[in-house]
Symmetry: C2
Subunit: 345 residues, 2 copies
């Protein structure tokens, strides 16, 4: 597993089964996971002591934590270990960026059964390091325990660079609503994985890749800090309408989304192949890890952002002035919309 990993991952025990974490042991596995890693500049002291030490030059730090559970947030038959590691870091880095901060470091706790192949854990760690580096940080520390089910818990840190945090609560009537990043493609990938379509069809490649490894446009947000600062900002993870709903509620405003600004001809073509509704994926698909923000109408939108609606007095989110018909997004424990794995455990 882990394509760039066939060397380390090919350690085989005597009877030619893959080596398990029980066979290697916790401390040896931790040593192997940390070997040869280069910490980012903000990590002043990495793994190996009771705790890590991270720079917070701003005198404050932004922190977000998310837990990913096998069968619920990812499936090993759908995603490679590297994909899972990248996604776990990406969704946490996106939360940090959505507060107006630059990611600096991450800590990770991983639980897995004792018979888990060492190569699987190594693949997840490799994916985490790849995405942490892309976001601007590194893995400063972690914990490794035995559990019945594979569970990954990531905590991400960011630095505000002396600027105020950009919360969800600053939108005012008259602001423009804009998004950066892909919407609906993760939902399309999930539809391919849960449906009867031939997953190897090249027409599905982009949707599948987007579902497996979201690509939050960190730079589109970070480059806008200070010069084109939004009045409110959030990451789009529960689904566009759900996350705009959280933003509208926090800001005590209404938001109207213009469906024409959200159409995506390629996604529409894909939806027709699958007899699905592209608008549903775009408005409520979830796991996009795009960003949505609001700007004063007299401010030019920064690069990478496209207008999709307006802020008005009132409450709630409408589409073209009407109550949305699509589902309202992801919520744990409910069986409803957008269950990432399509099952109901």
């Amino acid at each position: 597993m882990g394509r760039r990993h066939s060397g380390k991952g090919s350690v085989i025990s005597e009877d030619s089964r893959p080596q398990t974490v029980r066979e290697l042991g916790e401390f040896a596995l931790i040593d192997r996971l940390n070997a040869g890693r280069e910490q980012a500049a903000h990590v002043l002291l990495g793994p190996g002591d009771d705790a890590a030490l991270v720079a917070a030059p701003d005198g404050r730090f932004v922190v977000s934590t998310d837990m990913l559970v096998e069968g619920r947030h990812f499936r090993l038959d759908w995603s490679s270990p590297v994909d899972i590691g990248r996604k776990a870091i990406a969704q946490n880095a996106a939360d940090v960026v959505a507060m107006g901060a630059r990611p600096t470091a991450f800590v990770v706790a991983l639980g897995c059964p004792a018979d888990t192949p060492v190569s699987l854990v190594e693949g997840i760690a490799d994916g985490m390091w790849i995405e942490a580096s892309r976001a601007g940080g590194s893995i400063a520390g972690g914990d490794l325990v035995r559990s019945e089910q594979l569970v990954v818990s990531v905590t991400a840190f960011g630095d505000l660079g002396g600027q105020p945090a950009i919360t969800r609560s600053g939108a005012v009537a008259g602001d423009i609503v804009a998004v950066a990043g892909e919407l609906g493609w993760s939902g399309a990938g999930l539809a391919v994985l849960t449906g009867d379509a031939d997953r190897t069809d090249p027409g599905f490649t982009y949707a599948l890749a987007t579902h497996r490894v979201p690509q939050p446009p960190y730079a589109a947000v970070i480059d806008a800090f200070g010069t084109h600062t939004p009045t409110a900002l959030t990451d789009v993870s529960d689904g566009l309408l759900a996350d705009l709903g959280h933003l509208a509620a926090a800001s005590n405003v209404a938001i109207d989304v213009h469906s024409a600004a959200l159409t995506d001809p390629e996604l529409t073509a894909l939806a027709e192949l699958l007899d699905a509704d592209a608008a549903q994926w775009i408005l409520a698909g979830g796991e996009d890890h795009a960003f949505a923000g609001t700007w004063s109408a007299d401010v030019a939108l920064p690069a990478g952002w496209r207008p999709i609606g307006v802020v008005a007095a009132g409450s709630g989110v409408t589409v073209d002035g009407a109550a949305p018909t699509a589902g309202t997004g992801w919520e744990s424990f409910r069986g409803a919309d957008a269950t990432p794995t399509g099952d109901e455990r």
Copy 2:
């Protein structure tokens, strides 16, 4: 569950089963868990946005993360939800203090089955808030997801107050080794829980309480910062010999422990009742969440610390000059010493 919690915990669904997290839903449960909580001074922005914001007046922060898994690190038939929450925070706070930092804040990710009673999650959260307050911080944010097994992942933060971090690597030959906090009583409690003894015997109360809720002597360490700073410091969680072994290895020194300084007549009496070896509990029991440090021999030990051995040139840990006969402590995935739950999943 959670004795101080019978009010909120007694919500009953129509058919008089306890309300489950599926019935209440993620967002309503998060609202309930956060209702009425007062954040500590370092938490500048608590739950409710994409991420939290925590003060780091030192310009750096200490961070440690630990995952606790049901059946592996705690059992619901052995500990109350409040106990589990307290223990989860205590072991992370101890790691932060063991770096020379004062705890400031915590973030928590919790995974549980959808049929988990709401009152159980509330009890864990109550325990977390109790212990976070005792350690000097509060719960700044978190995540709540569905999983097959109850899993709690805590990340703890601390501030160094302008002082250097106290690592494991500063011990030098000639230093005194000292400990603060209880040793062996958590192991004794585990022996009661895994053995045939009558758990309701009042003679076991203290051992059981210590196993269920460790009491790291935060103040004994924090009060020593600056005036009686140790040369090296660690928390005792894997077992005294194992943790001193990590410290000795990091410092490139040898440590000799004086068994006479570690005898505990009450624990010896308890061990005789259970036909057990008190020295094994003290040297290798694990989960003590005490602290071990080293000081120059010409510095007075701060209050709350007792000398137990000496640092010398060389490597490894000895007891009264000889190789220890007791097990060497806790390691995940191995079946060996001190499996907290006594099973082998």
